[in-house]
Symmetry: C2
Subunit: 198 residues, 2 copies
């Protein structure tokens, strides 16, 4: 797919991104440990029908969550206060990320962008956003990246419950989201980890 | 609490363990990001009433899960095959870990043992088990530690469903478990992470 020009810094599908050190064979093993199957991919795709019309509301819910947790909010702040433009960039990418997670094409192109997302939480945090991010902390500590899997899952689940009346169908989609988000935070942890230990 | 002498290598409560670099203030911020509250602690304690009588069955389910996933099973294997004694030690500690998670006393003593558990997945993997672990891989890659949160949550949830008929009560306990396990894998990741990046 082509990168959406309306989302600042979005590079999923950009052929100039480096290949991920994580191979599709590594990913297959990770999926096995997560009990992630084709049924999960199908459930993620179904979830898109419910979630994507409400992308802005989901993004707003997450924006509120970040705003009410100082260690998360601080990642957008300079000593002079929060950078509104930087936050706007990040949350625009988050909205696009919801669609990408639902699309569920977990291949080399996707892995390359996952690696870039991980890098952007760590050594590359402020690169993509130029002056908008200047003066904000140089990285997001990993201790906040992993547990964000929970808030993401819980937020998505609340929106699934609003859009689907069958509790079993909600549960199926929510479990697929939980597995996918755990897969992604695991991939994003790669740049943080000591050589050879990931 | 005193370390249970019947569990090989179990050191929760051992006053000679080093203090964790993670403080109780760090833990409180982690709990906030996980939306982990006193209600979760209460739910974990209630879950113990259901789970602990079935500890051996839960351990057996996990043993089967490891056995059917090569990257997990390999962590117990020498070039000559699996070390039965090492597996017996690890799964005895896993059984005790279920009780410790339900007990929910997440204080400095608990943090010290969490740090030790993390270390035992990485640079200290084979130390506690002496000859039983000799010749097995020197560490568990972090890529498998984080996603194990899912199988743990799903396994525990299946046992909660067998022991509690009210779906809302099951859900409450299962969510508390999910948050606690995510908290713990986050703590266990600390030794793997580059200096200052955790």
């Amino acid at each position: 797919m082509a990168a959406a020009p309306s989302v600042p810094g979005y590079r999923y599908g950009d052929p100039t991104l480096p290949r991920s050190p994580v191979t599709t064979e590594d990913l297959a093993q990770l999926e096995a440990v997560l009990l992630f199957t084709d049924d999960d991919l199908a459930a993620l795709r179904r979830s898109g029908d419910i979630l994507l019309p409400h992308t802005q509301a989901i993004v707003d819910a997450f924006y509120g969550f970040f705003g009410s947790h100082a260690p998360l909010h601080d990642t957008f702040c300079t000593p002079q206060g929060p950078s509104q433009e930087y936050q706007a960039h990040v949350f625009a990418r988050f909205g696009q990320w919801i669609a990408d997670t639902c699309r569920g094409q977990y291949d080399d192109t996707w892995l390359a962008y996952q690696q870039e997302i991980g890098r952007r939480h760590y050594t590359g945090k402020n690169e993509a956003d130029g002056p908008a991010a200047a003066g904000t902390p140089p990285f997001v500590p990993l201790r906040y990246v992993i547990p964000l899997a929970y808030a993401t899952y819980a937020t998505v689940r609340a929106f699934l419950e609003k859009g689907e009346t069958d509790p079993a169908a909600v549960e199926r989609m929510a479990q697929a989201w939980l597995k996918s988000v755990l897969m992604q935070v695991t991939l994003w942890s790669q740049p943080y980890v000591r050589d050879g230990a990931w």
